[in-house]
């Protein structure tokens, strides 16, 4: 094929010049996660201000009990969902579409279970965000994380629909790679939240 014919074969704008060593799609996700880390950091700053700088005599305040066991089970569910996410991506890298689909569906279901359980616990926990500083920062931190799970579920749903439509191959699977990075980040943040708020 001549150079002239090749030029006419190409549709759309020319490929962008990339000076970064990181793929632009990965770089976009990394910058987004960077901004999320700063957002979580500001919430943790507020949490430690209330807990350490104010130095209340009891933490949690007397009469307040956190559902440590239920949140622990929820943590196991969320960590397990990262295993299935990794399995999904490993499968498509080997060309196994059934593994990809099963992994994504399982990940979505476990993420949904986590969010549903958290909302149910909010309804049964026995205190409200406006009660005092402890309850406010508790709902803010866990609610912020819940919002991230919701965003992750949205990304997973899109990836799952695309997986069932056969959009991914062993060579082209960025649509799964990026939600995977985000999902693991959401899990990491939950482990930090759970350890800080519920355990120590």
């Amino acid at each position: 094929m001549s150079v002239h014919a090749e030029a006419h074969e190409h549709h759309g704008p020319p490929a962008a010049h990339a000076s970064s060593r990181v793929d632009s799609r990965i770089l976009g996700m990394l910058m987004f996660i960077g901004s999320e880390i700063m957002l979580f950091g500001s919430f943790f700053t507020a949490y430690f201000f209330v807990r350490v700088v104010n130095n209340p005599p009891h933490w949690p305040p007397v009469g307040y009990h956190l559902p440590v066991f239920v949140a622990g089970v929820n943590t196991l569910i969320l960590v397990t969902s990262s295993f299935t996410m990794h399995w999904a991506l490993s499968s498509i890298k080997k060309g196994n579409r059934a593994g990809l689909q099963a992994g994504l569906v399982l990940t979505f279901l476990m993420g949904f279970t986590f969010l549903f359980t958290q909302i149910t616990e909010y309804a049964r926990i026995g205190f409200a965000p406006h009660d005092n500083a402890f309850t406010t920062i508790f709902f803010c931190l866990t609610g912020l994380h819940g919002a991230h799970v919701f965003v992750g579920l949205t990304l997973l749903m899109v990836a799952t629909v695309r997986a069932f439509r056969g959009h991914y191959t062993a060579e082209q699977h960025y649509g799964v790679e990026l939600p995977g990075i985000y999902w693991h980040f959401v899990d990491v943040m939950w482990i930090v939240v759970y350890t800080t708020v519920y355990l120590i």
Binding site: M29, G180, F185
Partner: protein, 63 residues
């Protein structure tokens, strides 16, 4: 130092490391009290920092 979130596989390994790191701190503080948790936190943080800083970074592009 390599970016721990450069790919899904790297993010997955980072998650596993996070589970071990926070799990050790939580177990130590539950079993041995606050100062045991602080001690494990300090030791684990130093180990993680040394490991991260000694890990070779990605090579710059040639040319």
């Amino acid at each position: 130092m390599k970016n721990p979130l450069r790919s899904e596989a790297a993010a997955y390994r980072f998650l596993l490391g996070t589970v071990v790191y926070f799990g050790a701190i939580a177990i130590a503080s539950t079993a041995g009290g606050r100062w045991a948790g602080v001690a494990v936190f300090v030791v684990a943080t130093v180990v993680v920092l040394v490991w991260f800083l000694r890990e070779p970074g990605e090579k710059p592009p040639s040319g």
